[in-house]
Symmetry: C2
Subunit: 408 residues, 2 copies
């Protein structure tokens, strides 16, 4: 008997029929003798409907009240999923984030989970019930409802799995696993049976939409075995594993990319200690996440040029903040570009194989693709290129690294 | 400066425009220096939409999960009303029933309020905020969400007013006050400026839909001044008062009626101590409310006939229970009728004026209306008649007691 946490996203619970299909799947797992916790998102379209209501009243809805509003989306789903389970003769009980004390910080709309009180869930499991928990939401120390931001339901599931020391956390989605790259861009993309946590972390953070990055971080930190599967087909999906050795022997596991990038550059900043903090501090205070960061000494040797990337939605606000900072620091100029994308090669094999970077740059050069920024880590090489080269770049790299062939 | 609790029903918050109108009204009261607590229902149609979703899954939805589902209706409204207030520059904060600890018993879908922790609300009021609370819902001792049943938002408002010792509890609705009878049945019906609590209690319990009965009981018990007003027009509405003396000098304040009645009779029950309890006990255990009760010794002197009325929705279940009871008690027969209505004369003046009952029976007899049951209290006389006589009976009594004329 295993304790399994399953997470179903908005599409998987998008209609009464789909909710009933989820209940049947959960029941099959339970009939095999497992204990089940089910974490669900709002029915697809519901969150957008609620946001639209709010925006009719306030173009920028009050963050605290927006969380009160949006959290109703998952609350509807947990009740319906519990009813569907009960209707199948499978005892079930639903809980909101607040009810199982998914304690978060105070950042409304983008809260982070701090703690979970698993006692109530455990009592229900021991009593033979399936426990259905609202994803995406929690409660702060003042008892106010918080939400984790889009995609937060994955994080909820992993956090609950960690708190319960579950045997596996299964993320059901509309794809049947993790692919070498997005099949919509490269039809030859191939499903991976396994991928390491580090690789998945890079893939997720780079815009592969299968899993939300914080959920992967959480899973890695608390060593929760994570599996991505389809909620529409049967199949083993992709297991996210802790061991490098077991992994297929490919140097590169996949190619991730991110369309929603924008870059900002501040030129001619007087070079002095603490300048990076002075530039990025105000950005962080505005709760904007910075991705790539590059700093170079300018040709004059006395000033420095500083470039970073942010999510495209945060571009206008970042530009505004950076212009103020430039003024305060006496920098020469601020430039920016939101017509860029990032493409990354990811693979643990990269560690022990030289020459990956040069092969990557050669493949891109051959297609005449100009590289704007480069950033590397132990298991990843990322390049920023003009938006128009995204598909061409991904396909060129997919072919150059033989990802369409099984390596075994 | 007064502390005022205002309650707005589903129609009053039925669209974004109406929510904005509510916010403007609340702001006007606050601008006059008052402290405001606003209790709201789900947007009209929302509760029905949610029930429909649930019934697609379970014809009789699990009561606990139904409460989880339905409570989202008011949660959406509190967020939107708070946003609308904030948009008008009026600081506001929303709370679910659980968040302000509206503690109830465990009867899902029909819970009763036991206690309210007003500390959180008071802290916000003292900080100058309008507090927006979800009506209709609470939380039991286990932390499960409960709902009070249809119309429960009125009770929430009064309970909050009582806990805060508010100066007035205003119930905004789609009528502009309490009438001598339903104007849809008798167009000559007249709005009352004041009515006593006892009279209102009888009017409400007899099916005048303006206020939910439990809210009036609560208001009477905790001496909360209650006012019914229109959320669409200006006007003073009807004040529900504690003093008899001030009341208009009419013997009769109004005529209430209830279409949703059914009566059940158990015939030939062996007459022995405890028989009433044996008959009504199982009905009460099924959470069915019994209204009129009549017991007569049968002509044989050894058995008794026992008649009572219930809500028409509870008729099939009541009949089933009563048949079992009849079998156990060795009673002769069970009969029933769900084509009946109840019409009642209500007025504190009745206490000191003889002859009201005979005038009532005479007025009905003149129209050829057969009376099936009679029940009286200090300030009320109720008769049960065939459903087809409802309108005729109400109009005959309205005229006979001169309710279309101002008595002053």
């Amino acid at each position: 008997m295993a304790l399994i946490v399953q997470k179903y996203g908005g599409t998987s619970v998008g209609s009464i029929e789909r909710i009933q299909a989820v209940a049947e799947r959960v029941k099959r797992w339970r009939d095999r003798g497992h204990q089940l916790v089910v974490v669900v998102s709002a029915m697809s379209g519901e969150t957008d409907r609620l946001i639209k209501l709010a925006k009719q009243i306030q173009p920028r809805p009050d963050p605290r009240e927006l969380d009160v509003l949006l959290s109703t989306g998952e609350q509807v789903t947990i009740a319906l999923v519990s009813m569907a389970l009960t209707a199948l003769g499978c005892p079930a009980r639903s809980y909101t984030g607040a009810q199982v004390h998914i304690l978060t910080d105070n950042v409304h709309n983008k809260a982070r989970i701090r703690d979970i009180d698993a006692a109530r869930v455990r009592a229900d499991l021991d009593a033979g019930r399936v426990v259905v928990v609202a994803g995406f939401q929690g409660v702060n120390e003042q008892g106010d409802i918080t939400t984790l931001g889009r995609g937060g339901s994955d994080t909820s599931a992993v956090a609950i799995a960690a708190a319960l020391k579950a045997d596996e956390c299964q993320i059901y989605t509309d794809v049947d696993g993790v692919y070498t790259t997005d099949p919509r861009v490269e039809p030859r993309a191939r499903k991976l049976d396994r991928i390491t946590f580090e690789e998945m972390l890079e893939m997720a953070s780079l815009g592969s939409k299968v899993l939300q990055i914080r959920s992967v971080e959480f899973a890695g930190k608390y060593r929760v075995p994570l599996r991505v599967l389809s909620s529409f087909d049967e199949g083993e999906g992709t297991l996210i594993t802790f061991e490098d050795n077991d992994v297929e022997d490919a140097k590169i596991s996949g190619i991730a990319f991110n369309r929603d990038e924008a870059k900002l550059t501040i030129l001619g900043v007087p070079d002095q200690p603490g300048v990076a903090y002075q530039i990025l501090g105000p950005i962080a205070e505005a709760n904007i996440e910075v991705d790539m960061i590059i700093q170079n000494v300018a040709p004059d040797g006395k000033t420095t040029d500083f470039t970073f990337t942010v999510h495209r939605n945060d571009y206008p606000q970042s530009l505004e903040i950076l212009r103020k900072t430039a003024h305060n620091l006496g920098a020469r100029e601020v430039t920016g570009d939101d017509n860029i994308v990032k493409i990354s090669l990811v693979g643990v094999g990269m560690r022990s194989h030289a020459g990956i970077a040069s092969r990557m740059f050669a493949a891109l050069a051959k297609e005449g693709i100009n590289i704007r920024m480069i950033s590397t880590s132990e298991i990843k090489i990322s390049v920023v290129v003009d938006e128009k080269y995204l598909e061409l770049g991904v396909r060129a790299l997919h072919a150059a690294f033989g990802l369409d062939r099984l390596s075994s």
